[in-house]
């Protein structure tokens, strides 16, 4: 058995000093290389905090985070991230927005000048795969919200990140666009097999995409349940109407309800 790619051991995170908010406590999980893990939980349970701890953007108050065998003590350089908001740069065209990571990440920044044509071809290929295709020279404001979010996803993928962190990337989109993007993301993952952590509120999304779904408790967050998802890939929209799918979603819904009522008892 090889070592997990991400190891989170008894991590706690407290904001704003000794009396601050305790966002995470006793939170442990392991994620294997190339695994697609979804983290679900009631709102405000510290899911986004978890993302920032794993990528080393914030240091944990207690416990250890180990990624690729290395203790995390500063920002990683291998992660791709996408958030609920597309956070594109409005002064850059779409192609140039997608290529932004190549300009800063140490693996590529020195090669970009020499191999620009190669990298541009790669960005165009990604835009063709994920979308939006044919908008390379448009500015973000000329695109719809769904197109912007696709661009944001391309930006997270352009440098072939070993670790992809997605913080509710589809939650601001309409249902149809969202379901399109599930399929797109699944295709990308199946082709390149990065390790993915997807934080989401949407249980159907979690079950559609993930190999394993982790459920977090209300704040202070920790993992209270874990479900391995055996559904075969590639999953399609038809999959979401099968009994197995529905059962999984239903189970997860039960855990969330328990976590939420726990929150009310605590409060």
């Amino acid at each position: 058995m090889t070592r997990p790619f991400v190891e989170i051991d008894q991590v706690a995170m407290r904001y704003g000093g000794v009396d601050g908010t305790l966002a995470l406590e006793g939170c442990s999980m392991n994620i294997n290389q190339g695994e697609f893990v979804a983290v679900v939980g009631p709102s405000g349970c510290g899911k986004s905090t978890l993302m920032r701890l794993v990528t080393g953007l914030w240091p944990a108050t207690e416990g250890n985070v180990v990624v690729a065998g290395q203790e995390v003590d500063g920002p990683l350089t291998i992660a791709g991230m996408a958030f609920q908001a597309p956070t594109l740069l409005p002064w850059r065209r779409i192609l140039s927005n997608v290529m932004l990571p190549l300009e800063v990440t140490p693996q590529h920044r020195n090669k970009l000048g020499r191999d620009r044509a190669l990298y541009e071809a790669r960005a165009r290929e990604l835009l063709r795969l994920v979308g939006p295709e044919g908008f390379d020279n448009k500015y973000p404001y000329q695109l719809s919200g769904g197109m912007q979010q696709r661009t944001s996803l391309c930006r997270a993928l352009i440098h072939d990140p070993a670790l992809l962190m997605l913080d509710e990337p589809f939650s601001a989109l309409d249902v149809f666009t969202r379901e399109d993007l599930w399929a797109v993301l699944q295709n990308v993952w199946m082709a390149k097999k990065p390790t993915v952590v997807l934080v989401t509120h949407d249980l159907r999304e979690a079950v559609y995409l993930a190999d394993r779904v982790l459920v977090m408790s209300a704040r202070p967050g920790r993992i209270i349940a874990e479900r391995v998802n055996p559904l075969p890939r590639p999953r399609t929209l038809e999959t979401t109407y099968t009994a197995e799918f529905q059962d999984l979603v239903h189970d997860l819904r039960g855990y969330i309800a328990a976590a939420r009522s726990g929150e009310e008892v605590a409060a």
């Binding site: 990528t55 953007l57 992660a79 991230m81 996408a82 956070t87 409005p90 002064w91 404001y141 000329q142």
Partner: protein
């Protein structure tokens, strides 16, 4: 809009043409409006002076001012150029210093906390009170005007650049930091471009107040420039010439403001886009 004209039905075509014509009329009106307002103001001024028989040494009518400007066009031009020169020197210094300090303040909480109170105190000092000190330090000449223009136009630039850099979205910072971006990368790739609209907004303010600074200095320490010209003219009760000086200053202000705006539109069009342009380009 993205449909080509040939595919439209005649009715849709007519409606589209009518909309485009209305948009054109609207744009023409918007372009002409400032001129109409200025001409209107001078007309009311002229008529008011004639009807109420206002003495020339209280408020000269526009035609008196025009006559004075024609008669004294040479000193007027010379002094305007001197003032323009001092203003632009001070303004240029303010851009350089304002950008550098704005970046420092916007990207470091420590610098912000340390310097901001001092900056505010400094900005509260009436610049006219500083001019005598500048004269003691630099003597009467072009420098007091340059430095006063600098001092007065520096603050808005610092505040705006700092605001633009300090308000970068935290998520965007996270995206870049998780890629191994250095703080310098974040400032260069995101902070500075993002601060540009703020920067140009501040330039439009700064360039007009820079004139105020230069002319204050020229009036307190009359050496050359439009400030001195107005002081001399008023001491001779040549009120039309004073007004000619005022109007010249106003015109230079408009021209510089306009230049700043053109540069702004060229470089930061992404921040001021409007649906109007979309209609015009069919995009």
């Amino acid at each position: 809009m993205s449909q080509s004209a040939s595919k439209m039905s005649p009715r849709a075509q007519a409606r589209y043409n009518a909309m485009a014509a209305a948009a054109r009329r609207q744009r023409r009106l918007q372009a002409m409006l400032p001129w109409l307002v200025i001409i209107g103001m001078f007309a009311i001024w002229e008529i008011g002076c004639i009807v109420f028989k206002v003495p020339v040494f209280i408020l000269p009518a526009p035609h008196d001012i025009y006559a004075a400007a024609l008669r004294w066009w040479q000193p007027l031009l010379q002094d305007s150029l001197v003032t323009l020169y001092s203003t632009m020197m001070g303004f240029g210094l303010a851009i350089v210093a304002g950008l550098l300090l704005g970046i420092a303040i916007g990207s470091s909480t420590l610098v912000y906390k340390g310097l901001y109170p001092l900056l505010i105190a400094f900005n509260s000092i009436p610049k006219v009170a500083v001019v005598p000190v500048l004269i003691i330090w630099f003597g009467i000449g072009v420098w007091p005007a340059v430095i006063t223009a600098f001092l007065i136009s520096f603050f808005p630039i610092v505040v705006n650049v700092a605001t633009g850099i300090a308000t970068v979205e935290p998520e965007l910072k996270d995206v870049l930091r998780a890629l191994g971006a250095r703080p310098r990368d974040i400032i260069l790739k995101v902070g500075l471009p993002r601060a540009m609209p703020y920067f140009f907004a501040s330039l439009k303010i700064a360039v007009t107040v820079a004139f105020v600074g230069a002319i204050i200095a020229e009036s307190v320490a009359p050496n050359a420039g439009i400030g001195r010209l107005m002081m001399v003219a008023s001491s001779r009760f040549d009120v039309p010439l004073v007004f000619a000086g005022l109007l010249t200053t106003g015109m230079m202000g408009i021209v510089l403001y306009w230049i700043a705006e053109v540069i702004e539109r060229r470089t930061t069009g992404w921040a001021t886009r409007n649906s109007d342009q979309n209609l015009a380009t069919g995009g």
